[in-house]
Symmetry: C2
Subunit: 226 residues, 2 copies
């Protein structure tokens, strides 16, 4: 179990370059946990007691705003760290909520312990600081995208970024897509319909295939994000 935890830690982008002894110390503090689909991992505003590394499954981190709209900040799949920044926040309060979108197996690390270890180990501090800086840059890019590109561009970019394994990408619900793209379900439905009618995509039973990649790239107008 400890070996498995160490293995997962070594694979993660956040801890990748940390020293081996740090990895082992982290692994000793870690606990595997299984979550059924739909389970809440943490809620915005709660004390940030843990951070999480996904082994298998998928987590969604999102913020719910006052008027009921939801914005998905990140999807955490295998090897991804969730609540990494939150665990270092002053006051250590989660600034978003997290739910399992699928049955998920994850490694939970106690936030306070990780903080102490990180402060003391140069290699770990380097890994974590670099990870934070990257997340910051990603967030800036995302913000700019949400602010300055229109929904056609965001949806096109999202579709292009899906790994089209075999035949088609199974769409999440329109609500979920809307939360990812920063809009509402109705507009997702409309835009998907438009793309379909213009033969940019094939669409059958919530399974999408890209038919005209050039057109989508033109709409996206930039390198992929999401």
């Amino acid at each position: 179990m400890l070996q498995r935890a160490a293995h997962l830690l070594r694979l993660s982008a956040a801890f990748q370059v940390a020293h081996e002894s740090d990895v082992l110390e982290l692994a000793a503090l870690a606990q595997f946990r299984t979550l059924p689909k739909g389970e809440v991992v943490f809620n915005q505003g709660e004390p940030a007691s843990s951070l999480f590394l996904v082994e298998t499954g998928l987590l969604r981190v999102s913020r719910l705003n006052a008027s009921g709209r939801e914005l998905t900040l990140m999807l955490g799949g295998p090897r991804q760290l969730v609540a990494g920044v939150g665990a270092f926040a002053p006051g250590a309060i989660y600034s978003a909520s997290c739910v399992a979108l699928e049955d998920t197996l994850l490694l939970a690390l106690e936030a306070a312990a990780v903080r102490q270890l990180t402060y003391r180990s140069p290699a770990l501090a380097e890994a974590v600081l670099t990870y934070f800086a990257r997340r910051h840059a990603d967030l800036l890019a995302r913000m700019e995208d949400l602010l300055f590109s229109d929904l056609n561009a965001r949806l096109a970019a999202h579709l292009l970024d899906q790994p089209f394994s075999g035949n088609g990408y199974a769409l999440p619900t329109n609500s979920d897509l809307a939360a990812l793209l920063g809009t509402v379900p109705e507009l997702v439905s409309r835009k998907l319909g438009e793309f379909y009618r213009q033969n940019y995509i094939g669409l059958h039973r919530r399974s999408v295939q890209i038919l005209d990649e050039g057109a989508l790239r033109r709409l996206a107008g930039r390198q992929g994000l999401y």
Copy 2:
């Protein structure tokens, strides 16, 4: 000079809780620099060789997007750190540009040296990590605000957040305000006009006074940001 640098470092939010010996080491690496108003400090995409601590004056950090719109990410006044996150970015590339909005006196710290020091000193690592986490949370709040509140709310919040020292807040140009609020100059002009006509604010020669704080708070619909 070294004492002055150390003093400034101790006052900054980012390095505040660091150990005294770290402060002295940082101070030894630091150089004061004076910039005339309008001077470019760095440009997006350049190698991030330095980070900056403002002693007096004002810096603007902003991103210019493909279609020519500008978004101001932060204003760095006295005691504030600029490019702190960028200096730790993988590849160490500035992810935004920075200009002096006023004549500015700042302390320049060599990024590579700061990184090394930060990795090695637990107290400094803690200060910097905490600072990063706070910036991350701030950025999330800003993003949500730009996405989900309308311009009335953003402008009202901005006005409420100004320190109304004595009689009135001297507005920056409409372009500058637009970059702060994520919109275009014309709309800033219109909204300011509306607020004035409804007697929410007094407006004379680019100097604003709040006349109806309640109305502005209602528009803002939340605690201040900006």
